[in-house]
């Protein structure tokens, strides 16, 4: 009897309306892309800070009011700046951030090719003179002679 009661209690808690659950998921997905300003290395979703739960509440309310994710992100960046976004927007001040690694990669490849090319130019075919050829043969023969012995 008791166990049945407990089960119904638990089940009642788990079985929230699908709409609520979907809202929870949306809040979680969005807040995973956002930085908590109090404990900067945590996402808003993970953070237990007071401000984080206030912000999550606001996000939830705005979603309920029919705002799109984009509108909510705009709401937050208006107040806290791009710093709240874990994925910074591509704009003039972030060009270096976004494209800097590719510039470095390009520079590295350029340096590598130049190095390889200069090495290739340093290597010349130098055919053996007849004297060297004779000595080489001698050495080879001496070697094989030893082995067979």
């Amino acid at each position: 009897m008791i166990s049945v009661c407990v089960c119904t209690l638990v089940c009642a808690q788990v079985a929230r309306s699908p709409a609520e659950e979907e809202l929870d998921n949306r809040v979680r997905d969005l807040s995973q892309q956002l930085r908590c300003l109090v404990c900067q290395n945590e996402t808003l979703a993970d953070s237990q800070a007071d401000l984080a739960s206030d912000l999550k509440r606001q996000i939830r309310e705005q979603m309920k009011a029919g705002k799109s994710d984009k509108e909510i992100l705009a709401f937050l960046t208006e107040r806290y700046g791009d710093f709240v976004l874990y994925r910074p927007p591509v704009k003039r001040t972030t060009y270096l951030l976004w494209f800097g690694p590719f510039i470095l990669l390009g520079g590295g490849l350029f340096a590598l090719f130049r190095y390889i090319k200069s090495r290739r130019e340093q290597i010349h075919e130098q055919p053996l003179s007849s004297e060297e050829h004779r000595r080489a043969l001698e050495l080879l023969n001496a070697d094989s002679g030893k082995e067979s012995a």
Partner: protein
């Protein structure tokens, strides 16, 4: 020559790291500078039946200080605010952030009240509009209701004397 390029790169890297270390990562530049101060209508701390809004401050240069009785750094900052309020250089208004009314009132009567008045932001909604993420924070707002400066964390005598007061003086003369 062989060592010149790596040396230059290394010095450059050290310079970047040195600059990075010298900066406070908790100081996030506010996007609200030179934007209109978000409007609000909140109950006054001492007279909850009366409201106060930022709009009423049109034509005046003023400071909005975000504080709370639970905030340790606010306590640190407080004597400076009390001192400033005695000089009447610039009016200070308080935004009491997510605080209990009784606690806030006790705090002010114990430590002195530098504010012309404080308003209660019980659920922290207005603080979010102002991009507050750590108290204390102080906003300098001009006659047209535009935020001109924001101090994150406690005010220091240096910031006050070198930045806020000269700025306020200039804004008042406009």
């Amino acid at each position: 020559m062989r060592y010149a390029i790596p040396l230059v790169l290394f010095i450059g890297l050290v310079a970047f790291l040195a600059i990075g270390l010298g900066r406070d990562p908790h100081e996030v530049p506010s996007p609200l500078i030179n934007k209109a101060a978000p409007p609000f209508q909140l109950s006054q701390l001492h007279q909850p039946d009366k409201k106060f809004g930022a709009e009423e401050m049109r034509g005046k240069v003023w400071l909005l200080n975000v504080w709370a009785s639970w905030c340790v750094s606010c306590r640190e900052e407080h004597p400076l605010l009390v001192e400033l309020s005695r000089t009447h250089a610039v009016p200070i208004y308080g935004l009491n952030w997510k605080d209990k009314r009784e606690d806030a009132i006790t705090w002010l009567s114990d430590l002195g009240n530098p504010y012309v008045l404080s308003v209660s932001d019980l659920d922290g909604r207005i603080a979010i509009d102002y991009g507050v993420y750590g108290a204390p924070e102080t906003y300098l707002i001009d006659k047209t209701g535009v935020i001109r400066f924001k101090q994150i964390g406690p005010l220091s005598p240096e910031v006050l004397q070198k930045t806020i007061l000269p700025m306020a003086k200039e804004l008042m003369s406009k």
